[in-house]
Symmetry: C2
Subunit: 338 residues, 2 copies
């Protein structure tokens, strides 16, 4: 079972609940695949909000929006973020007024930020706003902010501390990374429904998407109660590698690992999740690393994890779920043994 | 001198300061004409802010924006408001999110509202924001908000009280009008530079633009100190009719006058300004009303006041200024005599 696709014994119904922890671009690909494999309404996504920020006076939630647009079929497939058929008339005009232009806000996308900012200022919670937005855009999958309280990821670099979007977008991940902070996480409450989803009766699987461990998954895990809920989860917990062949599929994950002195390898990613994950999904190109993953106490699955096409997304989703089903009802105390 | 164009004796230099009190669409036409006749930097516009409002969480200042766009050459000539070559992608997207769509915010125009809202929230005053916006867009004419404090025009209608934009845009001026309120005006301070502009050394003229007297000019006059400054003004004060041939050139002025039981006539408009204006400009088509205007204590000028083309705007601006120059240095106490 360390390589190849497992068989699926008495697969649970497609309406059994599944939870995914996800960042934006990479995670949304697997989430889209999962939404085609299970009943989309049975799928719950716990979304990273650590890279949310206030920009031009508007509350921008990049990961939530990428998930919403992807599931609503409004996403820009090429970019992986933002909306398809987007225009930049606002951006050009706001630049002429001397405002910052390093973070692109398309004319259509802007509607999301303006509506959200208005509603948050009126006292609505981010979870309620997100739920209503999903309803209006026909998204039946539940997208839950990891917290309704603001948590801000900051990147400690050799040039000083940077708010995440300044590091990521403005400075294009150039400064070498020394560490991360998730400001506000310690006192944040888990988002509405998050802990309940992980403790749900009949949960089929909890999946950690192939998102950046430092700036997409760790912020979620930093919210009090989430890590504990994953440890206590009665369903199998499986993580999917964001590292393939020694490189990040997308984004700065590999660069960050190098700068932090961590081996750029799925093994290193797996170990970060060792206290709560049962299984780990490696890419088929990293088959030789599977024994090291299993030696770290995980069940391992090696399949194609690179999701270029919609078929790739659906295939990986199916593979991951079947892997989870194989891990069902593990022996009590399995996680305590590590 | 009650009809025909007056001669211009020893015209003051084009750099002598001129002040205009203005609303949006109608006023901006005359302001544009004036900016072509005098040094634009010598021109100061005191702009109505009574129809400013918060919409989708953004601070919208319709009259200031119409003036800015017009003077920057960015205006939509056809509509008379908003920007040329505008797109509505934001509007369509925000409607899909369930937000109000009765007030159109174009993608380019939105930049103004987002930038202004951000800056006001950061503690800048509306006058400072407006000054900086003008500088960035190459507008050398000074556009001064009538106040930096919020003043909200409300329309008392037979169906109840309506915020101005709800009456004007959402309900298309349909409900019959019973009166007006300028909430906040009593305690508002005149905008930065407003009273100083009216008391400026060497002021050539103070002009009341052909704007709606009830919802464009009266809010300005309701700000403490403005009416007094006009009365005390050492330069001639001249108003231009917004009523031509018994109809409003643009907007609901005539409808409002009818509903208030006021004669729909330039004579009635002139009388509203009787305590501070020296001269009144009627349209040539209303020549027969000139004796009634003069009988009310005004010097009267009858010329073409309908500004369809840029030439019309420039011509009227020149006519009005020459009229003002003829009224220069009136006998002391002229206004007290009425």
């Amino acid at each position: 079972m360390t390589a190849g696709r497992p068989l699926a014994p008495d697969r649970p119904p497609e309406s059994a609940p599944v939870v995914v922890l996800s960042g934006g671009v990479g995670g949304s690909k697997l989430v889209l695949g999962l939404s085609r494999v299970v009943n989309p309404a049975a799928l719950t996504v716990v979304a990273n909000t650590g890279d949310d920020f206030d920009h031009l006076g508007l509350r921008v939630c990049p990961d939530i929006d990428t998930l919403v647009y992807t599931l609503a079929g409004l996403d820009d497939r090429g970019a992986g973020w933002g909306r398809a058929g987007e225009s930049g008339n606002f951006m050009e005009a706001v630049g002429a007024l001397g405002e910052d232009t390093w973070f692109f806000l398309g004319d259509k996308d802007l509607a999301m930020h303006v509506a959200r900012t208005r509603r948050l200022a009126a006292g609505e919670r981010l979870s309620a706003v997100t739920r209503d937005v999903c309803r209006r855009l026909g998204v039946t999958t539940r997208i839950l902010p990891m917290s309704d309280d603001p948590v801000s990821t900051a990147v400690e670099t050799v040039e000083g501390r940077l708010p995440f979007q300044h590091y990521f977008v403005r400075d294009r991940c150039r400064p070498a990374v020394r560490g991360f902070r998730y400001d506000g996480a310690e006192t944040a409450a888990a988002g509405a429904g998050v802990l309940e989803a992980l403790a749900a009766e009949g949960l089929r699987a909890a999946i950690v998407a192939p998102s950046n461990p430092f700036v997409s998954i760790d912020p979620i895990l930093a919210v009090p109660g989430v890590r504990e809920a994953l440890r206590a989860c009665r369903a199998p917990v499986v993580a999917v590698t964001p590292i393939v062949g020694g490189r990040a599929v997308k984004g700065p994950t590999a660069k960050m690992m190098r700068e932090l002195g961590v081996e750029v390898s799925p093994v290193a990613v797996a170990r970060r999740y060792g206290d709560f994950a049962d299984g780990f999904v490696l890419d088929a190109s990293d088959t030789e690393l599977a024994p090291r993953v299993t030696a770290s106490g995980f069940r391992a699955l090696t399949v194609n994890t690179v999701m270029d096409s919609l078929d790739d997304r659906v295939m990986l989703a199916r593979d991951v779920l079947e892997f989870c089903d194989q891990l069902s009802r593990p022996a009590a105390g399995r996680r305590a043994s590590r």
